[in-house]
């Protein structure tokens, strides 16, 4: 396998982007990443998108986006693994470069979620859960994570305050990210008194509905040197795993098995341990998700994830900074684009270009992107060369 690096990144300003279409947002992010990398062509692209068919009634976007990028004829592949679609697009790009088949691939993600009603968006997102045995009974995504949260609180004594600390920390980081949907801070009391969605998950425990796109340019190290002076951010390991998509089929509701497996696979491939990671982006679709993920990636003992944001250990300047971009919570969560935006943030951090949210001396980073209620996970480990 050849060495693979991210040599360019791009994303649009996320939010309710009423003035842009799905294709426009993608092209904006793609052009920014191509310009950043300095490349003059692509050999192919993979685009993560969870369900453009339900959100905007458009499938077949691999071809459409290649066309609107002005590259008709390019091999364009749309990749789906619910909210982990972006991470899976990156993994697909890495494999294609590593195999030697291609030298420069764009890995992107896009989701246009505000062109439909809230009810329609809720329906579209719920298709990532078990339609016949969870959604049929009235379960929603906040509801599924709420059931995990209640179990985590029951088994380990995780507190309502600890959940809120995750939102407070991520909004504090996101306030420093000009591309975030909600770049402002929230207070502990504000989170704990916000509108209840599915007890104990309140609205400020939940990531928002977002329009957005993100792209990265992936190349082999030799090709990278021809085009760019950007520090090459090498992808030294990846891991991908699946789990039951229905919560009731799992042995435990407090362990995200796919995240644990994907993490172990990525650490093994990179020859790294959790202690080696300087900065990470994890899938905080709900506050409880960040708490469980940082346990299952080995940053915290099982049951102790709640102490991360509360004690400051996961803040910028702490032992293991988590979600310096603001995470899904503050930056936004256009589902298919999230995994790529995580790679955007880690690349930015490892290049030392993260401005006010820079983690000093960051050399090794990790991204964890998760589908549904944990039914799929893709982890990448990245290191600056």
């Amino acid at each position: 396998m050849r060495d693979v690096a991210i040599i360019g990144v791009g994303m649009n300003k996320w939010g309710e982007v009423w003035e842009s279409t799905l294709r426009d947002m993608f092209v904006e992010a793609a052009l920014e990443s191509i310009k950043d990398a300095g490349v003059d062509h692509l050999d192919g692209m993979y685009v993560g998108s969870m369900t453009p068919g339900l959100f905007v009634g458009q499938e077949h976007i691999g071809s459409m986006l290649a066309d609107y990028l002005g590259m008709k004829g390019l091999p364009g592949t749309r990749v789906e693994s619910a909210c982990a679609s972006g991470g899976l697009a990156l993994k697909s790009a890495v494999l294609e470069i590593a195999s030697g088949h291609s030298d420069i691939i764009l890995a992107g993600g896009v989701e246009k979620m505000t062109d439909c009603s809230g009810d329609d968006a809720t329906y579209a997102l719920a298709t990532a859960a078990d339609q016949e045995y969870e959604v049929f009974h009235g379960a929603t995504f906040p509801g599924l994570y709420a059931m995990m949260a209640r179990r985590h609180m029951h088994e380990f004594g995780t507190t309502r305050e600890q959940l809120a600390h995750v939102a407070v920390k991520n909004h504090k980081n996101g306030a420093k990210n000009p591309k975030a949907q909600y770049p402002f801070e929230v207070t502990l009391e504000g989170v704990m008194t916000s509108v209840m969605v599915a007890d104990p998950m309140r609205i400020l425990d939940c990531s928002p509905i977002t329009d957005g796109a993100a792209c990265v340019i992936v190349a082999d190290l030799e090709t990278a040197k021809k085009y760019t002076n950007n520090p090459a951010v090498k992808i030294t390991g990846f891991g991908h795993a699946t789990d039951n998509i229905a919560l009731h089929s799992r042995d435990s509701l407090t362990c995200l098995e796919a995240t644990k497996l994907a993490g172990e696979r990525a650490y093994k491939m990179a020859g790294r341990k959790p202690e080696d990671i300087d900065v990470c982006e994890v899938h905080d679709c709900f506050t409880i998700a960040e708490i469980m993920v940082i346990e299952d990636l080995g940053f915290f003992e099982k049951g102790k994830g709640g102490t991360g944001a509360e004690s400051g250990e996961t803040h910028i300047g702490g032992r293991i900074p988590v979600n310096t971009s603001g995470g899904l919570k503050s930056k936004g969560h256009p589902v298919g684009a999230t995994g790529i935006a995580q790679a955007y943030e880690i690349t930015t951090q490892l290049r030392g270009e993260a401005g006010d949210r820079q983690v000093e001396g960051a050399k090794v980073g990790l991204c964890q992107n998760m589908g549904g209620s944990g039914g799929s996970t893709v982890v990448h480990i990245m290191e600056v060369v």
């Binding site: 969870e134 959604v135 049929f136 009974h137 009235g138 379960a139 709420a146 179990r151 509108v195």
Partner: protein, 137 residues
């Protein structure tokens, strides 16, 4: 919704029909064609789930999907049945504030939701307190 879709699920939703693996004794609900890890489609035999269990976890849905608009707030839980199998369903006939992890429940046949503009009804199972009116663990 096309009628074949809910019709196919009737054995599970109306009668809690599951499967048990003859080799490992593991129970699967809903039914599947092959027991995990075996690559052998001959080991699974019909098995009926017990109708008693306890609340494993739960949530109160305040912001519902459109087909449950008239029912919110309502409680959805995961019930651990007396044989250890876990199922997701609503918890009815009690106040959300009274529900606790470990509360004893029984599974009953109930109306679950109403589909679309024609109001087609779907039936299935819900959990209710094992002793009516008694929600303490």
């Amino acid at each position: 919704m096309f009628p074949s879709r809910p019709w196919r699920e009737n054995p599970q939703r109306y009668r809690l029909e599951a499967q048990k693996c003859e080799k490992t004794g593991k129970v699967f609900f809903p039914p599947r064609l092959v027991a995990p890890g075996t690559l052998d489609a001959s080991t699974l035999k019909p098995y009926n789930l017990p109708e008693d269990g306890e609340v494993y976890t739960f949530t109160v849905i305040e912001v519902p999907p459109s087909q449950f608009k008239d029912e919110a707030p309502y409680t959805v839980g995961i019930i651990e049945l007396s044989d250890g199998t876990k199922i997701t369903c609503q918890i009815a006939d009690c106040e959300p504030d009274d529900i606790k992890i470990g509360m004893k429940v029984k599974i009953e046949f109930r109306r679950v939701q109403t589909h679309g503009e024609h109001g087609v009804l779907s039936y299935g199972f819900k959990a209710v307190p094992a002793i009516p009116g008694v929600t303490t663990v």
